[in-house]
């Protein structure tokens, strides 16, 4: 068990709480920075994809996990980011300007989506955002002069300071850099009053209001930031897939993104990373399994979405806090090793309204 002796308020604010964290995150940094040296090019690409998913996941987590607004339309923000980025690059913008433009435009669209969404919560909001995603999909197929319609759109090759971004190693480091920046920005948000306002809106709107928090502008802000991150991820995603067409951004993509934050663990940034690894690497894991299990099982059609669904259901039943929740329990078990109490995380029935968690 670790006890942190606090002597200054700064210790609550800083990103690393103690030397143990510094050590483990340092080790993680060494791992991801050295990955190109020992990892196969194919898996390096998959890892880049995990990073891209994680950036989109940060956006969705800020909205769903921290502000309590469900969105089934995040594939649309991903698409807007991707198409805008490709279009701007095609019009001759340099890479940094194009990616910032893509993220800003997506954030702006987020604000517009937030206007009708302000009055809705829960399932109604999910349906409204779903409708938004359908609209965007239609626009992508019919606005042929910009998006190329069903034929799709080639993402132009890009350069950054003379480095060719189509090289897997360079692209890997670009994704890593963007993910690191996104995580830092999200952490900054969450440890300051803007982020706390979001949490307040999630847990109790009426008391957030009487604390002087403007509900509508907080929700708008959450939508804008969430869409901005997802748009950034979309821009990187465009480079990753190389060729944009509307069927890359369907309802299934939105559901996959939502699955990522739920399986990872709602309400934690660790959860985003866990969820992104899960979503990004599971198809590869299933492909590997196919080679091992008997052909009769391996050839079952639709086994991949089936396994996705099964895992989601199992998580909802046994671990609503997701992979991060499970990780916390395992960590506590080792921290308190011989003294771990089995009932620590036992779920209790709550009878008073105030004891129930939404």
């Amino acid at each position: 068990m670790r006890f942190v002796r606090k002597t200054h308020y700064n210790q609550d604010i800083q990103l690393f709480k103690h030397n143990g964290q510094r050590f483990w995150y340092g080790l993680l940094a060494v791992f991801v920075l050295s990955a190109p040296l020992w990892l196969d090019r194919f898996y390096l690409g998959e890892l880049s994809l995990v990073f891209i998913y994680a950036i989109a996941g940060i956006g969705l987590m800020l909205l769903v996990g921290y502000t309590g607004l469900v969105s089934l339309g995040h594939a649309a923000f991903l698409a807007i980011g991707a198409y805008t980025h490709a279009y701007l690059l095609g019009s001759g913008w340099p890479f940094p300007a194009a990616i910032i433009g893509a993220a800003s435009l997506t954030a702006f669209v987020g604000i517009i989506v937030a206007i009708p969404a302000l009055r809705m919560t829960g399932i109604y909001l999910a349906i409204a955002t779903l409708a938004f995603a359908v609209i965007v999909e239609q626009v992508l197929t019919h606005w042929q002069s910009v998006t190329g319609g069903y034929r799709g759109m080639l993402v132009p090759d890009a350069e950054l300071f003379g480095l060719d971004l189509t090289t897997p190693v360079i692209f890997y480091f670009l994704c890593l850099l963007m993910l690191t920046i996104s995580l830092l920005v999200a952490l900054n948000l969450l440890r300051s009053s803007s982020g706390r306002a979001m949490v307040a809106v999630r847990d109790s709107e009426v008391s957030a209001q009487s604390m002087g928090i403007h509900i509508a502008s907080t929700k708008r802000m959450a939508f804008a930031i969430s869409a901005g991150f997802t748009g950034l991820a979309g821009a990187l995603f465009a480079h990753k897939i190389g060729y944009l067409s509307p069927d890359a951004f369907t309802l299934l993509t939105s559901i996959q993104l939502l699955l990522m934050v739920v399986v990872g663990g709602l309400g934690s940034l660790h959860g985003v990373i866990f969820g992104a690894i899960f979503i990004g690497l599971l198809p590869q894991g299933i492909a590997l399994l196919r080679d091992v299990v008997p052909p009769a099982i391996a050839q079952i059609p639709g086994i991949e979405p089936g396994i996705f669904g099964l895992i989601l259901v199992l998580f909802l039943i046994y671990e609503p806090l997701g992979m991060y929740g499970r990780w916390q329990k395992i960590r506590l078990f080792f921290e308190e090793f011989p003294l771990y109490r089995k009932a620590t995380y036992k779920r209790q029935k709550s009878y008073l309204r105030t004891e129930r968690l939404r």
Partner: protein, 250 residues
């Protein structure tokens, strides 16, 4: 300090508050009593602008607040607690109290995203302010506990603490002693005195515990069925025949 002039509100056919007028003087503890459904909490919701009044007006510090938006009430210096606690359940006590500091922020979203030095300075200030409130209400041992795991009595006190973090001029307490044991209620009456004397905050409270009311409050207002019966000292109100009838029946 706070004046309600002929305020009334009805929900459908039910007149929840009927033309009630009262004045709250600076620095006093003003209690509202009455049987269930008398309209006590509704009056709180009218003052804190969660409901709109049908007619009448509310003035605070000589400013008409009848049409001020809900979120602006806190900035004027009015803080409140809720009957069944409305805390941010999945966060720690510390974070709940920091949310209470929200109206004192001087940074904006962009500064927050970059965590500029000014944000850090502000965070340190907030933490200092929060610790003072924690010390006042003896919440040290719960600082890092998640609200969802705390007993009811502690949650009530955390809610008072969160309201104090707003540094209000007027504090509205909705049944602060409900769900507290006798010992905690005793503590509460001392804290009420501290809040009034040391922090100079005016308090309006809705309360059922007549012991606490008569010990802590300067003046009492009795309501029944949304109508005012009388306003006076605790002793006067307790012996008022109409009040006795409202509480005990004929």
């Amino acid at each position: 300090m706070l004046a309600a002039d002929n305020i009334a509100v009805s929900f459908g056919g039910i007149k929840a508050v009927k033309d009630v007028s009262f004045n709250v003087e600076r620095g006093e503890v003003f209690s509202i009593i009455g049987p269930n459904g008398a309209g006590k909490t509704t009056i709180f919701n009218l003052i804190s602008r969660i409901y709109d009044v049908d007619h009448g007006s509310v003035t605070f510090d000589d400013k008409d607040i009848t049409n001020v938006p809900t979120h602006a009430i806190a900035e004027l210096g009015i803080a409140r607690t809720f009957q069944n606690t409305e805390l941010f359940e999945r966060e720690t006590v510390l974070k709940n109290l920091l949310i209470g500091c929200h109206i004192h922020r001087k940074t904006n979203l962009l500064k927050d995203l970059l965590f500029l030095p000014s944000v850090r300075v502000q965070e340190l200030e907030f933490r200092r302010a929060v610790e003072e409130v924690i010390d006042l209400l003896d919440l040290q041992s719960y600082r890092d506990k998640v609200i969802g795991n705390l007993p009811y009595g502690v949650r009530k006190m955390v809610e008072v603490a969160r309201a104090l973090c707003l540094k209000p001029k007027l504090l509205l307490l909705d049944e602060p002693s409900s769900g507290l044991n006798p010992e905690e209620t005793e503590d509460l009456s001392f804290w009420l005195e501290d809040i009034k004397e040391d922090l100079g905050i005016t308090v309006i409270m809705v309360e059922h515990d007549m012991n606490l009311v008569s010990r802590a409050s300067d003046r009492v207002m009795a309501l029944t069925d949304g109508a005012l019966i009388t306003i006076g000292t605790p002793a006067e109100v307790q012996n008022h025949p109409e009040v006795l009838r409202a509480f005990l029946g004929d």
